[in-house]
């Protein structure tokens, strides 16, 4: 169904005198009907580009040059785009491929493009909605769905066109454990239906489900091999920057005694509702002493992000009070709290805007009127190995390097409190290693850390794990190993 021989692909270069850099080099791949293959590769290895090439979208809609041959279901892509509905591709960010006003119209759109008769469209829409368990939300707007539901909707909209080939780019990215389970189940049903599946992923569980695995590194694709053979070679996977086995994690235990008399954060009776909405937080009481590492866990929509946005004044309590480093936040602009609370947002790479990496890092310290801006920036550039890209616009960097810049931006502020909202999403082993090494440094400096995460293994490394459910704290525990200090 997919047959690719020696494909080499490069995007057009930005400057005329620059030679275009090959993203993929001599990649070959053969997959028959109802075969599944996981392609694993670190960030920037070319996974998304490979999926665009095989779907016939690149170079047709992206520019660039393609050498070699690709055939989908016997159709050579050099002769034109694949026939409508013959190949489907699930994008890494599924939300960007949904563009209709309701869930059912989203599923119907491709069928309308195929020119099917209305009664057949109706039947197929019903079947797809039921298949991917979306019938209950059929009238909702796609962008009002949860992350897991959006992925399932994008899959439903592709599957309903009955493509022989489905290409999935990071199908588990950014999902909570529940959403992951939903998508894994959906992928299972696709396999049973006889679809050829090509899955780009960083997640071992996704690869395990596919059964076969090829490794993509620096644009070179290895031949396919059984999954178990590779996953046993943890060391090789760690060396290629793909995974970071937990036994290679740095020590995150406390180095500085937690000072229980002097809280870093105090939250009292916090209730919050969005204007015109229902209440999201129902009376939160929370005291975090200085130097503590707190993990905040809970399902999507439990109110975790809403709670931490109160810690630097981005949101204001409907009732109750928040104090940071002994000072109430009421009446202070969020910008004035930035000196106390550093905040890493979800999708941090979207928030880069400066002309150079150096300017990007200097922005925060300069806004806060710190005296040693230049020295701080130089220190941080060296610490994160960004000196050679210091004068490059961050928007032009690769995804992995952009994530590094977002950590550097935070490190330059050197705040006594750091809030990390889902920092591990989309990180490969190398990126995770970098993040954890920095967190270990923060622990040495006695920085108070609030971590929002779905990664229970990471949460277990904190001094304290707080579970939020439906806007209230349901448990507040200290993991066994953190009892009695650095165990």
């Amino acid at each position: 169904m997919i047959s690719a021989q020696d494909i080499t692909f490069s995007y057009a270069s930005r400057q005329a005198d620059e030679r275009p850099k090959a993203v993929l080099t001599d990649c070959s791949l053969n997959l028959g009907p109802s075969q599944a293959l996981a392609v694993m590769g670190p960030t920037g290895a070319g996974k998304s580009t490979l999926s665009y090439v095989l779907a016939g979208l690149a170079p047709r809609h992206t520019g660039g040059t393609l050498l070699g041959s690709v055939a989908i279901a016997g159709h050579d892509l050099r002769d034109g785009p694949p026939a409508i509905g013959s190949v489907g591709v699930l994008f890494q960010d599924a939300a960007t491929q949904l563009f209709n006003t309701t869930v059912e119209d989203e599923v119907a759109w491709g069928l309308e493009a195929m020119g099917l008769a209305p009664h057949e469209i109706g039947q197929r829409v019903e079947v797809s909605l039921a298949h991917f368990e979306l019938t209950a939300v059929r009238q909702r707007a796609p962008w009002a769905l949860s992350g897991g539901q959006q992925k399932r909707l994008a899959l439903a909209a592709l599957w309903t066109m009955r493509p022989g080939v489905l290409i999935l780019d990071e199908p588990l990215g950014g999902l909570d454990p529940e959403g992951c389970a939903e998508v894994l189940a959906a992928v299972d049903t696709l396999r049973e239906a006889g679809t050829t599946l090509l899955i780009m992923t960083l997640q071992p569980e996704m690869a395990r489900q596919a059964g076969a695995l090829a490794l993509l590194a620096d644009g070179h694709l290895s031949s396919a091999m059984p999954v178990t053979a590779w996953l046993e070679q943890e060391v090789a996977l760690a060396e290629s920057g793909l995974l970071l086995p937990t036994r290679l994690w740095p020590d995150l235990s406390p180095r500085v005694a937690v000072d229980h008399r002097d809280p870093a954060i105090e939250v009292q009776g916090l209730r919050f509702r969005y204007p015109g909405g229902t209440e999201v937080l129902h009376g939160i009481d929370l005291t975090i002493p200085r130097g503590q590492f707190v993990a905040l866990v809970g399902r999507n929509g439990a109110g975790k992000s809403t709670l931490v946005r109160h810690l630097n004044g981005l949101l204001r309590p409907s009732s109750g009070a928040v104090s940071v480093m002994g000072r109430p936040l009421a009446g202070r602009a969020a910008g004035t709290v930035a000196g106390h609370v550093g905040f890493l947002f979800q999708r941090p790479e979207q928030q880069l805007f400066s002309a150079t990496v150096r300017d990007e890092i200097a922005y925060g310290p300069a806004r806060l009127g710190l005296s040693d801006v230049a020295a701080r920036v130089d220190n941080v550039l060296a610490r994160f190995g960004l000196e050679n890209v210091a004068d490059v616009p961050p928007a032009l960097l690769g995804y992995g390097a952009q994530r590094t810049v977002t950590l550097a931006v935070l490190a330059a502020l050197a705040t006594p409190i750091v809030v990390l909202d889902e920092p591990t999403v989309g990180l490969d082993g190398r990126g995770l290693g970098q993040l954890l090494a920095w967190v270990a440094e923060l622990r040495e400096q006695g920085v108070t850390i609030v971590l929002v995460t779905h990664d229970l293994g990471l949460a277990a490394r904190a001094d304290r794990v707080i579970t939020l459910d439906n806007g209230a704290i349901t448990s507040d525990d200290t993991p066994a190993e953190a009892h009695g200090g650095s165990a």
């Binding site: 563009f99 491709g110 925060g364």
Partner: protein, 256 residues
């Protein structure tokens, strides 16, 4: 909070179920009728009628009140400025070149009511017709499909861009960004945010191009419509009725 540009109030009233083409025609006729309304009394009657129809169709008071509030600024502007632009009739008060007259005030009231009548006539269509239905009606009336698609994509992505704006602003506030001082200063402070939003918007539109191509926008030979529009007897009767009513009213107004 996200402002949605979808004003549709879901429901199953007669007005909701009518063919959107019939409703488009009725809206066109009522807009013409608005300009033929002879006096303040008729205008008030027209507005009251629309309110009754909307309430009977299940559009809640809160939605109607929201439209009144949105129109308030325009109405106040008309009431304050218009009397001085057309000083006719008996003078009540005068200050230098400004003359407040009874005729001028009546004129302002008429103009304000006309603006309200137009707003509510258009809102009747938008409250009871979903966007896809409206787009497919326009396509059926001869608009190319890509134009209709462009309209719905714009309506879909304006809120997405607005969300992006809020995300970026929050991220920068967390890095010490505060907008204060004069308006000019505050506009300047927004530049970095707009840069990040622009980069994000370009990325979104790139992805959208791929998403549309991946589902066969260009390879589609002949598009069909799932909910094909059918003018049923009820729709024809409605269109005919409203046309007759309009003709009668226009004849009665214009005969003298």
């Amino acid at each position: 909070m996200t402002v949605t540009f979808d004003t549709y109030v879901p429901g199953s009233s007669l007005l909701h179920r009518l063919d959107p083409r019939a409703k488009l025609w009725a809206t066109l006729l009522s807009l013409m009728a608005v300009f033929l309304l002879p006096n303040v009394g008729a205008q008030l009657l027209f507005l009251a009628g629309i309110h009754l129809v909307l309430l009977a169709s299940g559009v809640p008071w809160r939605t109607l009140w929201g439209l009144w509030r949105q129109m308030a600024i325009l109405v106040i502007l008309i009431m304050v400025l218009q009397p001085f632009l057309r000083p006719i009739g008996r003078e009540v008060f005068s200050l230098g070149p400004l003359h407040l007259t009874t005729g001028g005030m009546l004129d302002a009231v008429r103009l304000a009511l006309r603006a309200l009548a137009i707003a509510f006539a258009v809102a009747t269509l938008l409250y009871t017709t979903s966007q896809p239905a409206l787009v497919s009606a326009m396509v059926r009336l001869g608009l190319p499909y890509t134009w209709g698609l462009t309209v719905s994509l714009a309506l879909r992505f304006l809120p997405a861009i607005q969300d992006l704006f809020h995300t970026v602003r929050d991220a920068q506030a967390a890095r010490g960004w505060i907008a204060e001082g004069s308006i000019f200063r505050r506009l300047q402070e927004h530049v970095p945010i707009l840069v990040a939003v622009m980069i994000g918007t370009l990325r979104m539109s790139d992805q959208l191009t791929l998403a549309l191509a991946a589902r066969g926008l260009e390879t589609s030979r002949r598009r069909t419509t799932w909910h094909a529009l059918h003018m049923r007897r009820r729709d024809w009767a409605f269109a005919l009725g409203i046309t007759l009513a309009f003709c009668l009213f226009a004849w009665w107004q214009l005969r003298s």
